[in-house]
């Protein structure tokens, strides 16, 4: 369905110095800086897959999505969505896709929601039967009738997102792009959103590409993960793989009564191989990273608290940022070993 071959996107930025003098200087002459937002990215996505696209802010997620949706033209590389080049054949591509941008609505601000749908029906040339069926499904899953007559600007964030997702699916797009769709939503709204996506994917084999920081979104919806960092894809694999490899990363951080000066062999204390724990010290803060399947949180806590006076303790499960940095570091290590 989607084929990306060595896609790159560079931007030119003009740098101006700070302060009043810098501003007047910038008046006359500003420095050019080239930033590569997406660097030689390649992947293939089959119809019906639900992809989680993860990366830190500024890593290149949005830029990739913009190229896939045809808003941005790549600096180099080839891109095909359902056999169409998005930025060349914009209109044909647009008929095939649905987009939800978390921060901005695609709907018309002042119009009642139902009117927005009616207009979208015209724009995408949705047949009467399809329209009816779709609206019924939305009602079932998203309960839009509560606010369907209100202008979009009066809706709460949760309502607006539900509306946006319905709007993006109205014409049964082959590909659905979601850019941070659950950000700022309450649990209920999140559940409804995910349900709508799941239903469409199951019924129509809609291909879904989802960028998010929410691990639960990924858990619930995605079968495959792409991680992008600094413009490059550093991981492309099944969700189950990631969970197996990194999902049990845990960190426990302790605040000790006194700064830790004892360079005691903690691994030995805990009766594990030194490579199984990562120890970080900062004066009176001690952080121990480990794999939950090898060591239990209880054991780690016990050992430390038995040997030191602990005033505070925090358990941190794995999160996207640490998975990403973990994967990135591994990538770095692999490179330097060559």
């Amino acid at each position: 369905m989607i084929e990306a071959k060595h896609i790159s996107k560079s931007f030119v930025k003009y740098e101006k110095e700070k302060g009043l003098i810098g501003m007047i200087k910038g008046f006359v002459n500003a420095k050019k800086v080239i930033k590569k937002a997406v660097d030689d990215v390649s992947f293939t996505i089959q119809e019906g897959e639900v992809i989680g696209y993860i990366g830190a802010n500024g890593a290149g997620k949005s830029t990739t999505i913009k190229m896939l949706t045809g808003i941005l033209t790549p600096t180099s590389g080839e891109l095909l969505v359902d056999g169409i080049i998005p930025y060349k054949d914009r209109v044909r591509n647009a008929r095939n896709i649905g987009v939800v941008f978390g921060q901005r609505t695609q709907l018309w601000w002042d119009l009642p929601l139902v009117e927005s749908f009616s207009i979208l029906k015209e724009i995408y040339q949705v047949s009467d039967e399809d329209y009816k069926a779709r609206m019924e499904m939305f009602e079932d899953v998203l309960q839009l009738s509560e606010f369907i007559k209100s202008p979009v600007r009066t809706l709460s964030l949760g309502q607006r997102m539900r509306a946006d997702i319905a709007a993006s699916l109205l014409h049964n797009p082959k590909v659905l792009y979601l850019d941070e769709p659950t950000i700022g939503l309450d649990v209920n709204a999140k559940l409804k959103m995910r349900q709508a996506i799941k239903t469409m994917n199951k019924t129509f084999k809609t291909t879904v590409i989802l960028t998010t920081h929410d691990l639960d979104d990924i858990e619930e919806l995605c079968n495959r993960i792409l991680i992008i960092d600094n413009g490059k894809i550093i991981y492309d694999g099944a969700l189950s793989d990631i969970k197996t490899r990194y999902g049990s990363d845990t960190k426990v951080s302790f605040v000790l009564k006194e700064a830790w000066t004892d360079f005691v062999d903690l691994a030995h204390l805990m009766e594990v191989d030194p490579k199984d724990i990562i120890v970080k010290v900062d004066e009176d803060k001690l952080e121990i990273g480990f794999d939950k399947r090898i060591l239990s949180v209880a054991h780690v806590a016990q050992v430390i608290m038995k040997n030191y006076e602990v005033t505070d303790l925090k358990i941190m499960e794995t999160d996207i940022e640490s998975i990403v940095s973990r994967i990135y570091n591994e990538g770095k290590v692999n490179v330097s070993n060559d």
Partner: protein
């Protein structure tokens, strides 16, 4: 005294800095205003061309052109549009926030506008002043410039600035409270344009229109400084008009503060 002004000065500087950020923007801003003035001057040339006498209502063509240039320069010196600040700030909830800060809101807006004003000055008034100074020396413009009137012009401008700001502030609060719109702003601009003397010198007005003009404060903002600089007042007229300006300035400052404190009290009760 400087200590009190210091925090406000920061606002002025901030506005000024933002203004210089875009180069072409500024260039065309100047051009757009130049076109407007240009159209006006050319129209007057055509009008005088069709007149049998060389002067109309006491103005020769040269004097009329100087009038237009000077009043335009005066307008840019006294440009204060607090409505945008008020509307924007309210939208961002900044009004409520600024009630907590130690600086008084009205003066905060004043200095912010002063910063904007300064940008406008450099951009528009500077070229105008250069043009005017050259004309003063080279052209036969028929205006009797003196050092004394020039100094008084500066005073007059300062008063005009205050009048301009505070009258606009009062108007802005009305609009803000009644939640009226862009339309009101346009209306206000149209009224000011007519009764300030910028459309046409007030001496062209029929009696009843002139009376209305003299009741409103706008003449004090544009016409008075302009006529002072052009030395068209007798000495008694001069001091009377300066006095009227002073009275307006004081009255409007008091009025604005009063109205604002009423609104603030209402806001505190209703929670914005």
């Amino acid at each position: 005294m400087f200590q009190t002004i210091k925090p406000y000065w920061a606002y002025a500087k901030a506005s000024f800095t933002v203004g210089f950020a875009y180069r072409l923007h500024i260039l065309f801003w100047v051009l757009s205003d130049l076109v407007q003035v240009g159209v006006l001057l050319l129209i007057w040339i055509a009008i005088y061309g069709n007149s049998s006498s060389t002067s109309m209502q006491g103005y020769t063509l040269a004097q009329m052109m100087m009038y237009n240039l000077i009043i335009y320069m005066t307008a840019s010196f006294t440009y204060m549009k607090p409505l945008f600040d008020l509307a924007d700030d309210h939208f961002d909830g900044k009004v409520a926030m600024s009630l907590i800060k130690p600086t008084k809101y009205i003066y905060e807006v004043f200095f912010r506008n002063l910063g904007n004003n300064f940008v406008g000055n450099i951009i528009i008034s500077l070229p105008l002043m250069i043009v005017l100074s050259t004309l003063t020396v080279t052209a036969n413009h028929g205006v009797n410039f003196t050092l004394g009137t020039t100094i008084l012009y500066v005073f007059s401008i300062l008063l005009a600035l205050l009048i301009s700001f505070f009258s606009n502030f009062i108007f802005a609060t009305m609009v803000f409270v009644t939640d009226a719109t862009f339309g009101m702003m346009q209306l206000n601009e149209a009224v000011v344009r007519i009764f300030s003397g910028s459309l046409i010198p007030l001496s062209f007005f029929p009696g009843w229109l002139k009376t209305i003009a003299y009741i409103l404060p706008y003449a004090s903002v544009y016409t008075v400084p302009t006529l002072i600089l052009m030395n068209r007042y007798t000495s008694s007229e001069l001091w009377i008009n300066l006095g009227i300006q002073l009275a307006w300035a004081i009255g409007l400052i008091i009025g604005a503060n009063l109205i604002w404190s009423v609104i603030i009290t209402k806001m505190k009760v209703h929670g914005g």
